[in-house]
């Protein structure tokens, strides 16, 4: 039997397989994903880059939680100049499509970043991290408001014809509304989920376990939340959506694909199981063979929907 075809289309991008290494989970390219062959990935998203260099938050920056972790890294990055000079070439040398993640504190910064990344070579796409506070609007995270999300995406897509992804935050009342605004603003693809806001307390010292008060929750604990967001978003918008959050196994990745994801993001898993991407890809191929699918695309969106849905909302029970 022919081994199954793992290639997928995520919007205009063609990836050799659906596994995308998420932003912020593989350093700045200096060390890269060191423990597995990066060329097995479908794509890699750079650490989010800002206009100016940033040093990030005071330590501790990570804390363990049940089946997950909190981070308060604070977006350290060398800024777009050094990204262009040092980081991008290293990422490109890994031999997989590179998606550049950008974040601005004003619409203008997003514009600048888009224009700068547009000039780079070997850019498969631009991921817009909308979980950045807009300093002009009282520090509200852009991705928390449909209006601001629209404006940020318009700012970015006004400067580039490259494929633009909007990476959404799950810390919102209605992710569909935000996703629709991003598509209206010119995004070609969506990506869910960024981390959930969380907190951890050292009860003996009566202080946060992070150097700041709150952080972003990732890892298996959030898999059900990421999956629900992906499913709602893909279903309601029809947009090509990358689904991720808490993927640590082939089953976890397949759940996103079955629920409608065009591609699957993986991040935190690689911290605790550096070979996770290898195992996940092998597991997906196995699954396809076992279920006699010729291609992973046959699985995408294959979820059976019960008609009994939403007789009552999830959170009220």
């Amino acid at each position: 039997m022919k081994s199954p075809d793992l290639a997928v289309h995520w919007g205009p991008l063609r990836l050799s397989n659906p596994l995308v290494l998420s932003s912020g989970t593989h350093g700045m390219g200096e060390d890269g994903p060191r423990l597995f062959p990066p060329e097995i990935l479908g794509a890699i998203v750079s650490k989010t880059v800002t206009v100016d260099p940033r040093e990030g938050n005071p330590p501790p920056r990570v804390a363990e939680t049940p089946c997950g972790m909190l981070n308060s890294i604070g977006l350290p990055n060398p800024g777009i100049d050094a990204y262009e000079r040092d980081v991008h070439p290293r990422l490109v040398s890994l031999g997989v499509p590179v998606i550049v993640s950008i974040a601005g504190f004003t619409r203008d910064e997003y514009r600048t970043l888009a224009a700068r990344v547009d000039r780079l070579e070997s850019v498969a796409g631009i991921e817009v991290n909308v979980s950045c506070p807009n300093v002009e609007r009282g520090g509200m995270v852009a991705g928390a408001s449909p209006g601001e999300t629209l404006a940020v995406l318009e700012a970015v897509t006004g400067e580039t014809d490259r494929a633009v992804v909007a990476k959404l935050t799950p810390n919102v009342t209605d992710i569909v509304e935000i996703g629709q605004a991003a598509m209206e603003g010119g995004a070609r693809m969506l990506s869910v989920i960024n981390t959930l806001v969380g907190m951890s307390v050292d009860v003996d010292r009566r202080c946060s376990n992070l150097g700041v008060m709150t952080g972003g929750l990732s890892g298996p604990a959030i898999h059900p939340v990421g999956l629900a967001n992906l499913w709602k978003l893909a279903k309601a918008t029809g947009a090509p959506v990358l689904g991720g959050g808490g993927v640590v196994s082939a089953e976890g990745a397949l759940a996103y694909l079955i629920a409608g994801a065009s591609a699957v993001g993986i991040g935190t898993a690689t911290f605790v199981d550096p070979f996770a991407p290898v195992h996940i890809l092998e597991g997906i191929a196995d699954y396809l063979e076992r279920h006699e699918f010729a291609s992973v695309t046959e699985v995408i969106g294959s979820l059976a929907e019960t008609q009994a849905d939403l007789s009552f909302p999830e959170e009220a029970c």
Binding site: T25, G27, P33, P58, P59, P60, V62, M69, F271
Partner: protein, 266 residues
């Protein structure tokens, strides 16, 4: 001295023995492919083969040996929380997953006599260093009390002269390691190099002493870690100039003492 490329590896527990009330001596069988580590490097241990506890625990390499039958690694650890408590309950013969060797170890010095200063568990990487001693090495071992730390066990593991000080006088000189180091260094008119591991407060004092006398000083620092491989930017160590952080797992855990912003350590 380029660091060896780390690998994930399934080890076997060969020994997991209590050597002081909360201190355990772990010995792991590694098979033949584990890259030989340098002193000062560490490993990440998965204390249980499950997603809970989620993160791996960083531990210094206490000893390492390669033979025809594969390599053996030792770790000396203190039970301080959930992860180390679970580790202490693991049995001989069980598998234990780890990643390593990680980090940048101790750097070769300028040929001066070396004073190694270990405060409590911070002595672990120094014991590995002292297993490949240079001629004039001396190890100062400081701890609160022999009732809390396996002084004799450690002393017997190294091949360099060991000076012990305890805060309660239960062994050796009554006092703290930096004082003892100061006296010893003064005897050599500070023509020494210092290599220290231990609690940050102790390291800060040692660093200060060395900086004042322009003595080269390497310290090994701890930080909360997620990935251990430079990927998460989680293990930030505040370094000079202010605002700059380096990664304990990649640029460290061994740093030049004068690079550290001690006041900004958590």
């Amino acid at each position: 001295m380029p660091s060896p490329h780390p690998i994930p590896c399934r080890a076997e527990i060969l020994r997991n023995e209590k050597v002081a009330p909360e201190v355990y001596w772990l010995e792991l069988g590694l098979g033949g492919h584990f890259p030989p580590p340098y002193p000062g490097q560490f490993v990440l241990l998965r204390v249980l083969n499950a997603w809970e506890p989620f993160l791996l625990r960083p531990m210094s390499i206490f000893a390492f040996e390669t033979s025809r039958r594969g390599s053996r690694m030792e770790v000396l650890y203190r039970v301080v929380g959930r992860g180390t408590r679970i580790l202490a309950s693991r049995c001989i013969g069980e598998p234990l997953d780890l990643i390593g060797p990680l980090g940048r170890g101790f750097q070769a010095g300028g040929g001066r006599p070396r004073i190694l200063i270990g405060g409590g568990m911070g002595v672990a990487p120094l014991v590995f260093l002292a297993s490949r001693p240079e001629p004039e090495d001396v190890l100062i071992l400081g701890c609160r009390s022999t009732s809390e730390f396996p002084v004799d066990f450690v002393r017997e593991r190294v091949r360099v002269p060991v000076r012990v000080c305890t805060e309660d006088g239960s062994c050796g000189v009554t006092g703290v390691a930096p004082e003892m180091a100061e006296a010893l260094a003064a005897q050599c008119e500070w023509k020494v190099e210092v290599i220290a591991g231990g609690p940050p407060a102790m390291l800060a004092v040692v660093a200060r002493l060395c900086e004042d006398r322009d003595v080269p000083c390497q310290v090994t620092l701890e930080a909360r870690m997620a990935c251990g491989t430079g990927s998460c930017l989680g293990c930030a160590i505040p370094t000079r100039p202010p605002g700059l952080y380096r990664r304990a797992c990649t640029e460290g855990p061994v740093f030049e003492a004068r690079e550290i912003r001690w006041e900004a350590l958590p």
